[in-house]
Symmetry: C2
Subunit: 469 residues, 2 copies
């Protein structure tokens, strides 16, 4: 099935590649102050493109004195049609270690059907796919089929520090029926899927003190507590032998997967042994659940770092008085993130040995898991668009990771987000030799053209039930 808009978009692939090459050539590493000129050049490149594509109201959002401003633009000339907030980001990860790249990170290079370059998969390629699809609609039809607001961030790779304020301070400006994200990789190249949810997260650091100072292990060892022994016991006690989190109340609210859900998961082509084997590891987790259930539907408590005592070269006969650990959680659908984090902290406090001091440091606001309602109209539009392009229906999947932006948008704008990126999770973003499959460009252009058409056929009232007041 073809249409003039898609045909035009696909015919522009050479121009698309030219612009992608220019975009990749800008080392827009937001974390590196020395790359401030490249960040500005990336903003200017996008703004020029948006102006040429006929977007209105092009402006920057966020603090001017620190951080990297986000770009806003809109095209709101489709009265009676839904309004989509389209998201992407122009900043990239640092390219280091440079010596591991097979071609220069900021020179787009094609090899064997893959386009290499820092940021090409995360998120420059997928962002330009969205922008080119919008431009194709304007070029062919003179108009977009929906109202569109663009939010193109420059701090995604540095944790989006300005985004909460941007969203909160621009609620009216950014008001929309749903967000369609050009970020958020597809799960696998061999399985057509749409991501319908992510786990939430939370975390904190703990510090356990068992004496006023480190002690000589000969003069005191065996007669006073050793902070490392106590910390090991605290951390080991977070899980039982079956891998289940033992903190009372931690699992509250999480529904057991229904037979139908389990059956659906069992149908996903997935080899848990190969999955772990590729990581040099083995499958292990909460007893009674499959690997995909553990990743998508079950929460975790994980120790991300622990340290104490003598960690340098050689031996030191010390009975350490201090031990430290960093702990994070992944929050499952149904779980109240704040309550779950409180449950873990309460359990640690309850089990801290008598005579010791347990401090909780740097506790962060935990976020709930995010789920796109299964009957959300944008989800249906995206699935239809993928089916049109690929000839098959995508499978709904989740990810075990967290998407803070999705929570922020839901919280501040009251709308759901569907991930519609055409990067794939194996494309080595955040690592050397990041690449984008060249075939994804045409898939993405066609799918974005199609999803815009499908949303354009919807009524804004179709979204009303899914918008928080």
């Amino acid at each position: 099935m073809s249409d003039p808009v898609t045909d035009h978009a696909l015919s522009c692939e050479p121009a698309f590649r030219d612009m992608l090459a220019r975009f990749v050539a800008l080392p827009s590493v937001g974390a590196d102050p020395q790359q401030a000129p490249a960040m500005e050049a990336a903003r200017a490149l996008i703004e020029a493109y948006l102006a040429e594509a006929g977007f209105d109201n092009i402006r920057r959002l966020g603090p001017t004195d620190s951080g990297q401003q986000a770009i806003y633009a809109d095209w709101l000339h489709a009265p009676g049609k839904p309004t989509l907030l389209v998201y992407g980001h122009y900043d990239v990860q640092p390219p280091e270690p440079l010596e591991l790249w097979h071609s220069p990170p900021f020179t787009m290079t094609e090899r064997d059907g893959r386009l290499y370059g820092r940021g090409i998969s995360d998120d420059k390629g997928p962002l330009l796919i969205a922008l080119h699809a919008l431009a194709a609609w304007r070029a062919v039809e003179g108009a977009l089929p929906v109202n569109v607001k663009l939010l193109i961030e420059g701090e995604e790779e540095t944790g989006s520090p300005s985004m909460p304020a941007i969203l909160e301070q621009n609620r009216d400006l950014l008001a929309a029926d749903a967000m369609l994200s050009a970020d958020g990789a597809r799960w696998r190249a061999d399985l057509l899927s749409l991501n319908v949810g992510s786990r939430g997260n939370g975390g904190f650091e703990i510090r356990l003190r068992t004496a006023a100072k480190d002690l000589h292990s000969g003069r005191y060892g065996g007669a006073v507590p050793n902070a490392l022994h106590e910390m090991a016991r605290l951390l080991a006690g977070l899980h039982d032998a079956g891998g289940r989190v033992t903190c009372p109340g931690f699992y509250d609210g999480i529904p057991e997967p229904s037979e139908a859900e389990r059956a659906a998961l069992d149908e996903v082509p997935f080899d848990a042994q190969a999955f772990a084997g590729a990581l040099g590891s083995v499958p292990r987790g909460e007893a009674g659940y499959s690997t995909l259930e553990r990743l998508w539907l079950r929460p975790t408590v994980e120790v991300n770092g622990m340290w104490g005592g003598h960690t340098g070269a050689g031996a030191k006969t010390v009975t350490p008085c201090l031990a430290h650990a960093k702990i994070t959680m992944r929050i499952a659908p149904g779980q109240n993130a704040a309550a779950a984090q409180a449950a873990v902290i309460a359990d640690l406090r309850a089990r801290a040995p008598a005579g010791s001091t347990l401090d909780i440091l740097d506790a962060r606001a935990a976020t709930d898991a995010a789920t796109v309602p299964p009957d959300h109209p944008l989800l249906a539009a995206c699935a239809d668009a993928l089916e049109q392009v690929h000839g098959q229906r995508p499978r709904n999947v989740r990810i075990g990771a967290s998407l803070p932006l999705v929570n922020m948008v839901k919280q501040n704008l009251g709308i759901d987000t569907v991930m519609f990126s055409f990067s794939t999770s194996d494309e080595d973003f955040h690592a050397p030799n990041e690449f984008l499959r060249a075939a994804s460009i045409r898939e993405g252009l066609a799918a974005w053209c199609a999803v815009l058409r499908r949303v354009g056929a919807m009524d804004p009232r179709d979204f009303a039930a899914f918008r928080a007041v």
Copy 2:
């Protein structure tokens, strides 16, 4: 009770203090290459003193190309009398942190009955006490009551790396009936005691790998092992809830304290609560044993360091693939050190989780506990000497720490060592404001004069039963 030798020694206290001040003024920090001139000056000071005191055969032992040579000298003109090997050391700990000293570390300073200075208690003061007592005998009697060999080390504070070779290569030169050490602090200022034993030690490092690389805690967390969880479980499993080491075979060979031993320990004035409270801690250890039993008669397995994952600032959502720990043991009387260390390693290997790799690194040769036989003649002579000076019998005590030199001497020379230092364990050696109680000088001079006289009344054959072949 007084005698001319002791009277003379005590009358020389001003000269003693002069020499101690000169000795302390030399920053003989063996660990600091910049202090090589001070180390040489310290050796020269001692050698000059020994020559003046009439010692023969003054020479240096040990490698000339690295490390700090030990000083040897002897006086062997008491035919038919026992031969004592007298030990001390001339090197000191680094003085840092300098800002915490209340007077310059290398300027002997008296305040409130205490003489302050780096190394004054460990071991310059106690060493000079021994040398001055020997000199007093020569000055008054023209001869020593026993044959004496001196071994004065310059690497004690850096782990005595040359000492095994020095002992092995000079067995004939150093042959003696027993060793009398001017090093090894008295337990407490408020309890007259003689140390009759020390714990042995051993140790190693472990490294646990659960995957080929660190993994994203969202994309993999909950579905593969976390090296820190597994390490925490390994370490926590070294002890049961009662503080008893769980490794099978670890306690083999250790006798339960007899009723008489327990009664003797109970008689030692000792407040376990105050002991731990002074450290900002609480008493805790193996169930069923008192604090002194835990320190003196029971072994330990201790984690001295552990680390893994993200230990820097901020949070990192990583599922770590590697975890590390440093482990040492204190070996109790009766225990076979090598077997005990092997038992701990075997237990860790047995409990390492399936699919992981546990490496044992840097395993050291474990040493047995050392005990001076209760009927050893030198122990009796020292007890008699202390009773003569203090008017009461010293109590036999042990220390929980390890004295590697005692084991080395037993192994290479076949003789036992009695500790006869006049420093006290609270005198902040290895810390700022190290001091020596001024009163200890006279106690020490009198006691050394007396012990030499008592050993001089003994027959070398009294020692034969205690010398290993």
